[in-house]
């Protein structure tokens, strides 16, 4: 103690003993303190990267121009309206240098080509991480409160989705994820509001369970609830991992509260079925193009068919024959909003199809299930489970209200602070890994989690995670003019009797009309300007395909003559394009010389035969529709306008705009309109 005091006092004496010396010592201390900042800068990480960059470009052929563009010091991209303060370019020095694309090592490589300029958008908006940071660790890996480590490259498309609410051609993963959010029913339970205030609406069609006992048995419901994918691998119904008792009680409640469906179909199914010809089933199934919407597993285990309707591999296990017949008779009696068309099958056809579909039975499926009649207590327990699990969020169920906001809202899930997340042990502490894990194994986050188990592939999980990460606070807070709005489905509804017919035929399940409907078949918004009346009448009677190479085709509905005429008149009167002027089109009577000129243009100058067939003997191209009878099908006004600019009439169509001169377009139109085919449909009829 004594010694220490002695040392201290002698040190004090040595340093500050006399005023001049004290002044010197203090000045030296001050000088050192002042030197800290420049020294820190000199030894700063970014400084060494900049020195390294200069060394890298030193030996390159374009060193002079590269060095001219190099600016020492900290660089910053500041975009106040996007909330961007990015200093990434301090170290990432070659991002804009076209010649540095071959540099293997980061941080000097050129940025891959994207549609946006780096200076206009900054970096963190897509990549995440901490823009203002100037050390590698802080910028890339920080997990402090409110901070988020850099986004793994495979989710990069989520950045696009913050501004682009519409589907971009270059972001397939994001588009898939967004489709899944609506198609897998996520938004039935989790509300998602877009930044502009519109709600994301579900596009799936969970069946109403109000009359479920008419459709199927309690045993089937039980097996289904236990493992939906065992019945149909492609179903979007998730697995709730129910115990035997729970599944039994839920099925008991559903069956006991099911009401019989309205009278006339029950009567229809009772009437003696006409003699079904078993061999006619497959061909009728094929001719009706059921597989455009319904998939069936083939012998190799692959799903073949569309995904608009449910998979039919084991439909015989599920549907009661009487219900199936009534459904085929008129699906809208059982479910008024179904996307399935009313085919107007004859009694014989219904019997044939019912028999054929009943044959799609897997004798092993649900064979060991025997349920005893349920008592009131079990039924009450079933109802309690239905309420707890939120079944009514998707399905209409007798005696259970549709719950509002059943699950947490996801409108800003992409900005969920890490501090609010309870990570599982051993999990990477980042939002993407949390979201992906939650989607893959929701129940791993606790036994009380109600979210069921979905069956998703790895690319699907990545796509969903990408779509959810795009729902960020930045996307919500940015000015509206920077955002690209989603294309909303309109609520177009065709009017009058023809409108009712179109609803029954479910035209919009495949065709898009005035911004509403599917994309399986051509957009019909301007169909009335395009086609001739007699052709449309014939086509609706017996839809012959224009493109023989397509698998999915328009099915034949047994329309009555008056219905057919009404539908034709409605389409011709209402589905008209404002940009097609019938007066502009070449006259119907064309000089043979003009037609011949058009033929030469067709075959030589424009070589249209590479994609179209006009003479089935010599031409072979079938990228575009066959044109052998186009003179009977299309109006000359449409053909002329189409030739001038195909994309103006149908955005995104494959036919290139050839920039035809007016004369060429008129000659080609004259030639095409002269094509009435060797066996014109009119003659056939």
């Amino acid at each position: 103690m004594q010694l220490m005091r002695k040392v201290l006092s002698s040190a004090w004496q040595a340093l500050f003993g006399d005023p001049v010396r004290a002044f010197g010592v203090v000045s030296l201390g001050l000088l050192l303190a002042l030197a800290i900042a420049p020294a820190k800068e000199h030894f700063g990480q970014w400084h060494s990267y900049q020195r390294h960059y200069l060394a890298l470009i030193h030996d390159r052929g374009d060193a002079v121009s590269l060095r001219r563009r190099f600016r020492p010091g900290i660089h910053q991209i500041w975009l106040p309206e996007l909330g961007v303060v990015d200093r990434c370019t301090t170290c990432h020095l070659g991002l804009n240098e076209a010649s540095l694309g071959d540099v293997g090592q980061q941080p000097f490589r050129k940025h891959p080509v994207i549609p946006h300029s780096l200076d206009g958008f900054g970096c963190v908006i897509c990549h995440g991480g901490q823009g203002p940071a100037t050390t590698v660790a802080e910028a890339h890996h920080s997990e402090r409160a409110g901070e988020e480590p850099i986004l793994p490259a495979r989710y990069i498309e989520s950045g696009c989705g913050q501004c682009h609410q519409n589907a971009l051609p270059g972001t397939p993963q994001l588009n898939l994820g967004r489709t899944m959010l609506t198609r897998y029913g996520c938004v039935h339970c989790h509300a998602i509001t877009r930044p502009d205030g519109t709600k994301v609406a579900a596009t799936d069609h969970p069946p109403s369970l109000v009359h479920v006992a008419d459709k199927t048995t309690r045993e089937w419901i039980y097996s289904w609830l236990k493992d939906p994918q065992a019945y149909a691998a492609s179903t979007t119904m998730p697995n709730y991992k129910l115990s035997d008792v729970d599944a039994s009680d839920i099925s008991a409640y559903l069956v006991s509260t099911s009401t019989p469906q309205a009278g006339d179909t029950a009567a229809a199914s009772v009437q003696p079925a006409a003699k079904a010809d078993p061999s006619a089933g497959p061909s009728l199934y094929g001719e009706s193009f059921c597989s455009s919407c319904h998939a069936v597993q083939n012998a190799a285990g692959n799903l073949v068919g569309g995904d608009v309707g449910p998979e039919l591999t084991r439909i015989g296990n599920k549907a009661k024959p009487a219900w199936l017949a009534a459904w085929l008779q008129n699906p809208r009696v059982y479910d008024a909003t179904t996307p399935m068309p009313h085919y107007r099958f004859t009694a014989l056809e219904i019997a044939t199809l019912t028999e054929y579909l009943r044959g799609k039975t897997d004798s092993d499926y649900g064979s060991g299930v025997h349920l005893d009649a349920a008592n009131a207590k079990q039924i009450a327990h079933g109802r309690k489970l239905i309420v707890e699990l939120g079944c009514a969020a998707c399905h209409e169920i007798n005696g259970v209200q549709k719950p509002e906001n059943f699950a947490p809202e996801l409108s800003a899930i992409g900005s969920k602070p890490l501090a609010q997340i309870v990570f599982l042990p051993g999990m990477e502490h980042s939002l993407p890994s949390y979201i992906a894990a939650k989607i893959l194994q929701p129940r791993a986050f606790g036994a009380s989690v109600k979210m069921p188990q979905f069956t998703l592939t790895a690319p699907q999980t990545d796509a969903l995670t990408t779509a959810l990460l795009a729902l960020s606070n930045r996307g919500r807070s940015m000015p509206d003019n920077l955002r690209v709005a989603a294309i909303q489905e309109t609520n177009y509804q065709p009017a009058g009797h023809a409108g009712k017919l179109m609803t029954e035929l479910a035209c919009t399940s495949c065709h898009r009309i005035n911004g509403r409907g599917g994309d399986m078949a051509p957009d019909l918004t301007w169909e009335g300007s395009a086609v001739q009346r007699q052709w449309l009448i014939d086509f609706l009677h017996n839809p012959n395909t224009l493109r023989p190479s397509l698998i999915r085709r328009m099915p034949r509905f047994n329309l009555s003559d008056s219905d057919n005429k009404e539908l034709t008149d409605y389409i011709l009167a209402v589905c008209q394009s404002p940009s097609i002027d019938a007066d502009l089109a070449p006259a119907a009577t064309n000089l043979p010389a003009t037609v011949e000129h058009g033929r030469q243009l067709f075959y030589s100058k424009y070589a249209c035969q590479s994609c179209h067939i006009v003479d089935s003997k010599t031409d072979k191209g079938y990228v575009g529709p066959t044109l052998t009878q186009v003179g009977l099908r299309l109006t000359s006004a449409w053909v002329y306008t189409w030739l001038r600019n195909p994309q103006a009439l149908r955005p995104g169509t494959t036919e290139p705009n050839q920039n035809l001169s007016d004369d060429d377009a008129r000659a080609l139109t004259a030639f095409l309109m002269s094509l009435k085919g060797p066996s014109g449909r009119g003659a056939k009829r």
Binding site: G104, S549, I551, S610, K620, P656
Partner: protein, 251 residues
């Protein structure tokens, strides 16, 4: 004075080299550390590809099909229990990177492409009897631009340029009198400059005295679309496309 500056320069150069080595090491780390505790019970003399090569995927994603290689002995029979290590460049990753061949002599790994677009030359190495034997596997990664190009190619071009037919999309290749070149046909396309390809796409085949069956897309595709298409064909070209590079006058 002279000597001191030389010493400083040497110090600086060695520091640079150290940094370079460090960065390179950091870059290589992602190909995965060798799994501990794996001991080969057998060794083969040849390694062959069974599947998963020549795939095309997006940068930073896992390839659709796993890469499968097989280790054989002198007689060409499969060797189970041989140690196989997968190595890759530029951030390509493997899961797992090191493994023993299974009972049928095969080693299967799923490949994550790196973040740079282009060709990835991966290799599978087995210890071998006397010296290591290796096999090259080539995969292609598409960046944003190339992916846009591939989407455009699917929509506008492949019906004629791709001779493969599928039930969903029947090829028009066989119907054309003058056969179009596949986009992977590097032997032909590599000889054509970007300007040539651009003018054929914009103005059609006759622009370069080629078939009129190729229509002009100048009023349909944007300049960015055309660049994307060319970039895509360059990426998938086989043999690989090697750009001439920019020529600069030395100072």
């Amino acid at each position: 004075m002279m000597r001191r500056s030389t010493a400083r320069r040497a110090l600086r150069i060695s520091a640079r080299w150290a940094l370079l080595v460090l960065v390179t090491l950091a870059g290589c780390k992602r190909s995965g550390p060798p799994a501990a505790g794996l001991k080969a019970t057998a060794a083969g003399t040849a390694i062959v590809e069974s599947g998963g090569g020549h795939q095309v995927g997006a940068t930073g994603t896992v390839l659709k099909d796993p890469v499968v290689v097989q280790v054989n002995d002198d007689q060409g029979t499969a060797v189970p229990g041989a140690l196989v290590e997968f190595r890759g460049s530029a951030g390509a990753g493997f899961d797992p990177a090191v493994m023993l061949t299974d009972s049928s002599g095969q080693a299967t790994t799923s490949v994550t492409l790196g973040t740079i677009a282009g060709r990835y030359r991966l290799s599978a190495v087995t210890t071998g009897k006397s010296k290591p034997v290796s096999l090259d596997i080539v995969e292609t990664a598409l960046g944003y631009q190339q992916r846009v190009g591939s989407i455009l190619a699917d929509k506008y071009c492949s019906r004629c340029h791709d001779s493969e037919s599928s039930p969903e999309r029947v090829s028009n290749y066989d119907n054309l009198e003058v056969k179009p070149h596949a986009f992977t046909d590097g032997a032909t396309l590599n000889k054509m400059s970007d300007a040539d390809l651009t003018s054929i796409i914009l103005h059609g085949g006759p622009a370069l005295n080629r078939s009129a069956l190729m229509p002009p897309y100048g009023s349909t595709l944007s300049p960015a679309d055309v660049r994307a298409l060319i970039s895509y064909t360059r990426t998938v070209a086989d043999p690989p496309y090697e750009p001439a590079g920019t020529v600069y006058a030395r100072k």
